[in-house]
């Protein structure tokens, strides 16, 4: 029997899904024309599934900084910060991030996935307790598995359930760390952070917020949900990524905790992997400067998000609970979702197809992520296409179409 035999059921599902053309798991962008447009199979395609919230992947200043660093410092660091040394720019980026979040300390990781893996497996250890939102991202679950703390879950975004679970742990020794996300990546819903922070204060625990999808998106200064909810003082650790609003790759954790730096020599996903190349650090620093100084980006993003969310909701499609730069449409079954996704792509619109069990409600999702760089016309075209395809596939009754005012 093959070593891969255990995947036979998965393979069956995968083969069935990838028999449709184009294969939803192997989309290739032959060309990237801008941060919101590419070429797929010879067609100009609107990119509405890239997490490129501020559109900074093509920002000329970010590119220029990156190119300069590349020429001056080379293509890679070829080693880990701990074993092979840091470049000055690693330090500088950590200082920039600490300052941006108004915190004492910052550690930069090679991806956001590794930031969660590292922090969750190291901050809590044997005899400690990790209390996760049930709908947490894979990187949070994997970090929990890598460490030795006891892991329990509370119902998604349910502060009362969190309270009950902390109450049960009241007299149990060990540190307690609660982990939530700012914006949840599948439905775009926000954590009830004020209520969660109150439970945390009352019961005595540490609180970590993953602001992967909310940094640069929420808050007066773009510091994320903790800022928007006014509870930054209650949030002990913020983790995040450079791969979304900052348009590059990498991850980080910021904190005010005394003695934080000891983690640099305790945290394996930080120590035993190569550090980010200087060109990535350079564009990320520039993107952070832009994010911090250009509030108009955030305004444009929320206007675009609101427009798409309202447009799809008004068509009668089943969208998530609130408008945010992630807008997902739930469909009845997998086959329909694949056909819907395909028809959109044929029509020149790319977004993400998310299938159970990766989705929180067991329904397949068409997941859009909106960018400040999308034009109004692109958003309206997306709504129009959704309407056409939904009618064609019988998801919406005949005669439904995008309101004329929207298309104008």
């Amino acid at each position: 029997m093959s070593i891969l035999a255990k995947f036979s059921q998965l393979k069956q599902t995968y083969d069935k899904l990838s028999s449709v053309q184009p294969n939803p798991f192997a989309v290739t962008f032959d060309q990237i024309l801008s941060s919101t447009e590419g070429v797929v199979e010879g067609r100009r395609t609107i990119l509405l599934g890239t997490n490129n919230y501020l559109g900074l992947t093509m920002d000329p200043d970010c590119i220029e900084q990156s190119v300069q660093a590349l020429r001056q410092q080379g293509t890679g660091t070829t080693g880990s910060r701990v074993a092979n040394g840091s470049y000055a720019s690693h330090r500088a980026l950590e200082q920039d991030l600490a300052k941006f979040f108004k915190r004492q300390h910052c550690m930069v990781f090679s991806t956001g996935y590794q930031a969660n893996l590292g922090m969750l497996s190291t901050l809590v250890g044997r005899g400690d307790h990790l209390i996760l939102d049930a709908d947490s991202h894979a990187s949070i679950y994997d970090g929990a598995r890598l460490g030795h703390a006891e892991v329990i879950r509370f119902r998604h975004s349910d502060p009362d359930d969190l309270y009950k679970r902390l109450r049960r742990l009241k007299d149990v020794p060990g540190s307690k760390l609660i982990v939530v996300e700012g914006i949840y990546s599948m439905l775009g819903d926000l954590a009830p952070l004020r209520e969660i922070a109150q439970v945390k204060r009352e019961m005595g625990a540490y609180l970590m917020v993953d602001e992967a999808h909310s940094m640069g998106v929420l808050g007066e200064h773009g510091r994320g949900l903790a800022e928007a909810a006014g509870v930054e003082a209650d949030v002990d650790f913020i983790v995040g990524t450079f791969s979304k609003s900052l348009g590059s790759v990498g991850g980080f954790c910021v904190a005010d905790l005394e003695g934080f730096d000891v983690l640099r020599v305790a945290c394996r996903p930080y120590m035993f992997t190569a550090s980010l190349p200087p060109s990535i650090i350079a564009s990320t620093r520039q993107a952070l400067r832009r994010l911090g100084s250009d509030k108009a980006l955030r305004t444009r993003l929320s206007t675009n998000a609101e427009r798409l969310y309202r447009g799809l909701r008004e068509l009668g499609l089943q969208v998530g609970p609130q408008a945010s730069p992630i807008v997902s449409v739930a469909l009845e079954d997998q086959e329909l979702a694949v056909r819907f996704w395909n028809a959109l792509l044929q029509g020149g619109l790319y977004l993400n197809l998310a299938l159970p069990p990766a989705t929180p409600t067991n329904m397949p999702l068409l997941r859009a992520s909106i960018s400040a760089a999308h034009s109004r016309r692109q958003i309206d075209r997306a709504i129009e296409l959704f309407a056409e395809v939904a009618v064609k596939l019988g998801v919406l009754p005949a005669g439904v179409s995008a309101p004329v005012a929207l298309v104008a």
């Binding site: 929990a144 329990i152 879950r153 679970r165 742990l169 159970p356 069990p357």
Partner: protein, 48 residues
């Protein structure tokens, strides 16, 4: 049962008995007997 149904079932059990079943304990549960003994020992622990 799919994984979402299993998760909801576990959350129900936790509510019903006022316990939290840690993920590593949950991973070891394969039969109804396993579940019963895990719940019993957690309930006992809770009362202690």
């Amino acid at each position: 049962m799919d994984s979402l149904a299993i998760m909801n079932f576990m959350l129900e059990i936790e509510d019903r008995f006022d316990i939290s079943i840690p993920l590593d304990r949950a991973a070891d549960i394969a039969t109804v007997d396993d579940l019963v003994s895990a719940v019993e020992s957690l309930v006992k622990q809770e009362k202690a």
